[in-house]
Subunit: 320 residues, 4 copies
């Protein structure tokens, strides 16, 4: 599905056309796409909310890719299943790359923006940055782990959960669903604050499900893209605790009374390989649940239209 | 100097009167005050910016106290020199107290508010919470370490400075003067951002002194009580780095573009005993410099008036 | 049960005699003992493997105490249930006490050595150091948490378990039983290395149970008091990983080839209040299982005799 | 200087012969060697203490290399100065490489063993793993930083030095000389334990220089390859503190009484790029001193003979 120019999704800007397959460079693999999760960011990319320079077009979106290696100029074998998320590659030698923080590399490139992404049949990926898929995971359920999953994982890991820590989760959508499960699997008590998504919180086996925060939390994660909710989160954690904000919003604004007493507020830039491998390992052995709905790649415009209108429950995954 | 009722400093609300000396309880010491630093918070307490319940009056302010023990119902000997800061005591058994974070104890009491403070000749202090003064330190220069000093120390320690990290310091007054010195003594490069206080930064041997932040800092401390400066600080540190805000202001407000990329923002609640002992140890062996001006205790109203009008350079210390 | 003089347990050195009840000091509580776990150290204390000065006698052993408060000169109410372990009290102001490491305090005193312990009907405890017992825990099953439990907890916490880390546990007795459960509850994979206690490992729901270590572990704990096993543990963890040794033995001896590659070896001095409270909280909410056998206090000599002869399975708990 | 076969240094096994210059591969640079430090490991490699497979011969030793880039198939420019140490390259994708611990990579290769090293005029280096040399550093003094320097740096960093921590250093040779300086530059008090090298400790401006450890250290580093000294170090640090052992010996053996109370013992596998860059940065801005003696490359056998006989003071650096 090729995007010639950024345009409103209502105009069906993605065209289902033949595209000359990717060229295989040294260190790369060609992957036959089996599943590509549809992320809300795709909508922003397609509709032009993120301005992009003309040389990136025609562009193929998609950054939650799982597929099978069909060609390789690397040590990955043909037939192996691999996946990639938002971060396509990094420089490998800057101060971030050499410190295990490749997601902060200033030379990082992005799947579905700088490189043709997963809304297609074949993609060329860098063998150094892909992750292998454990055999017992199916491709459709695994694809969303590559963006939604690792973002939630990264947020939860920032909290250094001690056993039985009560962690408040604000925003119980796709990421929150993973977040609640991961808090529980790491020994914490997942506390969902939600009015409309109690069913999702129950499915994630949250320890507490409430409309309003009860307070005295040992940490909080804000998946809802709303500055007011960051304020609520900050005022509901204990002194000395951390509020992680993986959501994107226009600003952070907190009254000082909710910030003082050594509270910490931090954002998340997702995508470390070690986090990706960790969540795949957890999914493989612990039975992390994904809520997915499978659609045809050719229906991508329609799927994104539904997403925009809030009609999508769980994660849509496109299959070529 | 007794405060009967909160009132503007212009009205000389502190009265120099005889006050029945403090009673000595089990575990306490009576200290003959040798020096008491004048903190900006004293002004807020006296003028009523912090509302206080009537049962706390008459009140004696002062929370940067150094003096000699003259009576003791504890293992501290008569003749020893000790000091106390903002935190007078904590409960000793809450989750914070048992984790080395007594400054977050919800039962903490405050010197000069809950207990008669250092604007006097004698104070009763809790032997568990005072710190001994190393012999080679003089009382007048040491008093300001008990609030200004440890707040700066605590802020600097939050940054986990690696050798040669460039740390931006915004607000080069009394706390900033200590902050710059401490960054240098911990192996970092102290970068003072200041237009009006370059002389102070030079005296602190700052590695860089500029009007405007050059950016790419490995951390930042905001001693200036100004939300705009927190924004500037946030946008001038590298990805993944921390902005420590010991200053008090009405709110934290930062555009998301300056917050994303895993930046951390945190506040400081000063007063750990281990921090106090550390800064006394540093002062004793490394020659940490204080900028102090000695005044008579009886001139407290006048000194505070000058402080309010911005006429004080360095730290005023009252001597009975 | 009073010990006049250290002596072999076969000689029934503990006498069941009336003892003048403890005196209640400021800050203390008198506790009616409901349960006291029998620890292997008790045997060493009684038999004289730890030489003790004469002024400590007559001595009453016992350092896994749970009981009800019947008198109080503190903020703990009569009727509350509390417990205490090996560490009876610490100084509250040394560098360890003020850093949340009271278990390293050089002035710490020990229950059942410096103070009359739990082999009795009433004990006087320091209200600052006891821990409250959650209502849904029964006293007999809870008593062993105060030494066996927190030692295991402390060992596991030293490993900073990441999700799915494979942790090898050597020595699957009472402590190992808790250790395996805690590793699982903190999100790790508990790997029991045992030939004779596979049933215990199964009851603890260990993820892997083997005769011999498979290697490549992300950490190891050695509960078996045997220097050879420390060697085995060191050679079976990955580079950069930690071997925790809560067991006591005469020396640590490891070939350099098993130590190099940044491995870490560390011991455990149990007893932090925050660890005690954490394990009580986990037991209360997660259903941590204890394996206990109840005996009469008056049969203490017999119980210790059985322990010495290796006839005890699980933990013996004495009830007055 | 080519080594055809491992042999005693007395037999002058290194031959000064023409060797076909290295071939330039994708991602590599050709470096004209300006200086190569002589490390004690070179002697072990040459004399056969480390058995090496025949396919590695003829071998060119040398792993403290600084030189100028004369050809490049990478983003490093001709004319830039770069250096490399023991670790020549790592895999870039194993669990260690993606966590900033490339020195533990099981696929790491070694300069002067797996690749022709610095006892030569030209070497081919991997552009991803070399470090750029700051302009104000001269090549001869900088070369030893690439093995001796970063090993000392890595050891010191493992101690998480708090301001004024007293750190004991055992073994005051080349590495110890760097170690003492680095402890001081990171805000600690460097305590040299030495009988024969007090002059070196003085030159490093150690805070304490003694024959015997005074005890109560906040950490210790053992640069002397001697198991007895590890025992001494363990017994002379405070409870809860760390003993770092960068030296290589046959075993670690410590009485339990010196190990208990939560002491930590750990080894060092040197070579992280971030550590290398950090020490170069420190050398560039802080004036870290090297003690070097320059010799001709062609005299390598003689220099190594002197090293073996203990005649070398400071670090020998070979210049082509
Ligand atoms: Zn996404
Ligand atoms: Zn959106
Ligand atoms: Zn990079
Ligand atoms: Zn103050
Ligand atoms: Zn408290
Ligand atoms: Zn015990
Ligand atoms: Zn025993
Ligand atoms: Zn203590
Ligand atoms: Zn070397
Ligand atoms: Zn690797």
């Amino acid at each position: 599905m090729i995007l010639e120019k950024q345009n409103k999704i209502e105009n069906n800007p993605l065209k289902y056309e033949d595209y000359e397959g990717p060229e295989l460079k040294h260190g790369q693999v060609i992957v036959k796409v089996q599943a590509n999760g549809v992320c809300h960011s795709d909508l922003h990319i397609i509709e032009g909310d993120f301005p992009l320079p003309p040389e990136l077009f025609p562009l193929i979106p998609g950054h939650e890719i799982v597929g099978e290696v069909v060609e390789s100029k690397s040590d990955i074998q043909i037939g192996e299943r691999v996946g990639i998320g938002w971060f396509y590659s990094a420089c490998g030698k800057c101060e971030y790359c050499i410190s295990g923080k490749e997601n902060l590399c200033p030379y990082a490139t992005v799947t579905g923006i700088n490189h043709k992404g997963g809304y297609s049949e074949y993609v060329a990926l860098d063998s150094t940055y892909v992750s292998r898929i454990p055999d017992n995971l199916n491709s459709v359920e695994t694809a969303p782990l590559f963006c939604a999953g690792i973002t939630a994982y990264s947020a939860v890991r920032r909290l250094n959960i001690a056993p039985n820590d009560r962690i408040a989760v604000f925003g119980i959508g796709g990421l929150g669903f993973y977040g609640l499960q991961l808090i529980r699997l790491m020994g914490g008590k997942a506390c969902a604050i939600t009015t409309s998504h109690k069913d999702v919180a129950e499915k994630a086996e949250a320890a507490e499900i409430t409309d309003k925060p009860s307070g005295h939390y040992d940490g909080a994660i804000v998946f809802a893209p709303n500055s007011k909710i960051v304020q609520t989160a900050a005022s509901s954690v204990k002194s000395g605790k951390t509020i992680v904000v993986p959501a994107v919003m226009d600003k952070i604004e907190i009254p000082f009374s909710s910030f003082m007493w050594e509270k910490n507020i931090t954002s998340v830039a997702s995508g470390l390989r070690k986090e990706t491998r960790a969540i795949l390992d957890i999914a493989s052995s612990e039975g992390l649940i994904s809520m997915v709905h499978k659609s045809k790649l050719s229906s991508a415009n329609e799927v994104l239209n539904n997403l925009k209108q809030g009609k999508v429950k769980g994660r849509e995954v496109l299959v070529p």
